[in-house]
C-alpha cells in the first residue's frame, strides 16, 4: 500500500514537473481555459426501479424504515434529467489533471453515495463509512487494464480508505456483506463531470480545442458528441438517451 502511494506521489511529482516545464516553454496562459456544459436527458419513461429489501441487516432496514431504498440503475428527474451520468473527454491527449480535489465515496444507510463516482486516473479518492454496520468495499476491475482489484472491510468508525486507480476503466463496486449495494468507479483520463439530479453538468478547465465528449450511463452505455471549446468560453453538449 505504502509502495503504491509512494509511486503515485512520485508519478504526480514527475507529471507536475513536466507540466510546469511544458507550460513555461510554451507560455500558454492558463486563464484561457474554457468549459463544457450541458444536460443529459432521458427520452421515454424510466424503467421501474425495484425496491430493496434490507431485512437481512436490521440496521439498514431501520435506516430505510420510512424511505425505502430503490435500485439506482436509471435515476431520472421530473423533467427527464438523468442523474449519475459521467461526462468526459474521450480523445483527451493532454496531461493528467493535477486536481487537488478528493472525490469521496460514502457508505450511508447501506447504499453508496454517490452511486457513481467519477475520477481521474491516478487521482486519490476516499471511501468513508457513515454507518454503524460493517461494510466491505470490493471493486472488480478487469485485470487486463492494469488496475489491481482489492477487497477491504470497513467496520463502523474505521479510518477512510484512500486509493487511486492507474488506468481508465469503468469499475463496478460492490459490498460483499450487503449484496444489494452496487456502485461504480468511473476512471477517466482528463477533465470530467457527473450530472446532478436535474441532469446538468459542467466540465471545467478545458483548454481550447476540438473534443469528443462522451456520456456514460450504467444502463444505456455511452453516447458521444463533438464540441469545440474556445479560449475562456463555454461550449454546450446536450445528450438524450433513449429509454429501452
Amino acid at each position: 500500500m505504502r509502495n503504491r502511494q509512494n509511486w503515485a506521489v512520485a508519478l504526480s511529482a514527475i507529471v507536475l514537473v513536466c507540466c510546469g516545464a511544458l507550460l513555461l516553454s510554451q507560455k500558454v496562459n492558463a486563464a484561457g481555459e474554457g468549459k463544457i456544459t450541458g444536460t443529459v436527458k432521458l427520452d421515454g419513461t424510466a424503467p421501474h426501479m425495484k425496491g430493496i429489501d434490507m431485512s437481512k441487516d436490521p440496521y439498514c432496514a431501520k435506516a430505510h424504515a420510512t424511505d425505502p431504498a430503490h435500485l439506482e440503475q436509471v435515476v431520472a428527474g421530473a423533467n427527464g434529467g438523468l442523474e449519475n451520468v459521467v461526462l468526459y473527454i474521450s480523445n483527451w491527449s493532454g496531461s493528467a489533471q493535477a486536481s487537488t480535489a478528493v472525490p469521496v465515496f460514502d457508505q450511508k444507510n447501506c447504499v453508496y453515495t454517490p452511486h457513481v463516482l467519477a475520477m481521474d486516473a491516478g487521482q486519490t479518492f476516499k471511501v468513508i463509512t457513515s454507518d454503524q454496520t460493517t461494510h466491505n468495499i470490493h471493486p472488480l476491475p478487469n485485470p487486463m487494464t492494469g488496475n489491481i482489484p482489492w477487497n477491504q472491510s470497513q467496520p463502523p468508525g474505521a479510518a477512510p480508505v484512500e486509493k487511486s486507480w492507474k488506468a481508465a476503466e469503468v469499475i463496478p463496486v460492490q459490498c460483499n456483506i450487503h449484496p444489494w449495494m452496487h456502485g461504480w468507479f468511473v476512471v477517466v483520463k482528463g477533465p470530467y463531470a457527473t450530472t446532478d439530479d436535474k441532469g446538468s453538468y459542467t466540465i471545467d478547465n478545458v483548454p481550447p480545442g476540438n473534443y469528443t465528449v462522451t456520456a456514460w450511463q450504467e444502463t444505456y452505455n455511452t453516447m458521444t458528441q463533438k464540441v469545440t471549446v474556445a479560449a475562456g468560453a463555454s461550449a454546450t453538449a446536450d445528450f438524450t438517451f433513449k429509454a429501452k
Binding site: D53, S55, K56, T133, N151, Q174, I177, P179, W180, H182
Partner: protein, 267 residues
Amino acid sequence: MGKAFGVVLTIITTISVAIFVSRHWWFPEVASAHGGAMDHQFVETFVGAAIGFILAQLALAVFAWKYGEQKGDNRPIRIFPGGVKWLLVLAFVYVGSEIILLEFVGQKVWAAMYFTPPATDSLQVQVLAGQFAFYFRYPGPDGKFGPIHADKIDEASANFFGIDPSDPASKDDIVTAELAVPVNKPVELLLNSKDMDHGFYLREMRVQQDMLPGMQIPIHFTPTKIGKYDIACNQLCGLGHYNMRAFLEVMSEEDYQKWIVQQASLQ
C-alpha cells in the same frame, strides 16, 4: 500438592455441573414440532455424561488427595481391586448402555427429520444462499419454481434467483429477503447455494443443514410458535460470514396470506 489438586478439581467439577444444571445457559425455547424430542434426547445424554464426568473427576480428586507419597513413606503400593477386569466391565457397561440408549432409541429424532418424507401439504420454499445473504422464493399460485439460471443471477438488478423472465413457471414466483411461514403448517425448504458452502441454522426450530453448491438439499419441519427467529449461516463462507443471516417470521395464517399478497405486489 495432591490435596490441593483434589480440592481444585472438586471445585471445578462442582461449578461446571452446577452451571449446566442451573440451565442458566441453555437452548433457546423450542418452536418446532420435532424440537421437543431433540431436547429430551439431549437431557438423556446429559445425564449419562454427567454421571461419567462426576465419577471420573471425583475419583481422580480422591486418589490425588489420598495417595500422595510422604517422607519416608514405606507403605506398599496397592493394586486396583479386581485389577483390569472390572474396569473393562465398567467401561463396556457404561459406554455400551449409552450407545444402546442414545444410538438406537435416539435415532428417532434423526429419522423424523431425514428419513421421513415431508407432509404432502407442506409449504415449499426455495432458499438460495450466496455471499452473504439468503434469498427465498415462493412458487406462487402455480406451485412451480422456475429453474435457477446461474448466468442470469444479477444482484445489481435484484434478480437474485437468476429467473428467466420468459419462463412461465417463474413468472409468478415471489422472491423475498425474508422467510415467512404460517404457524403449525409443515414447511419444506429446498436449500441451494450459488457460490460457497453455507449453513442454514435455525436455533429455535432445531434445524440445521449445510447448503452446498451444485446440490439441492431438502429439509422439513413444522413451526409451532409465532415469532421472529434468526437464520444464521453456520458454515464458513468468507469474509462476511458472521453477517450472513436472514429472518424467519412465523405468522398466523391470516397474516401470512396478507404478507404473501403484499410481497407478490412488490415483484
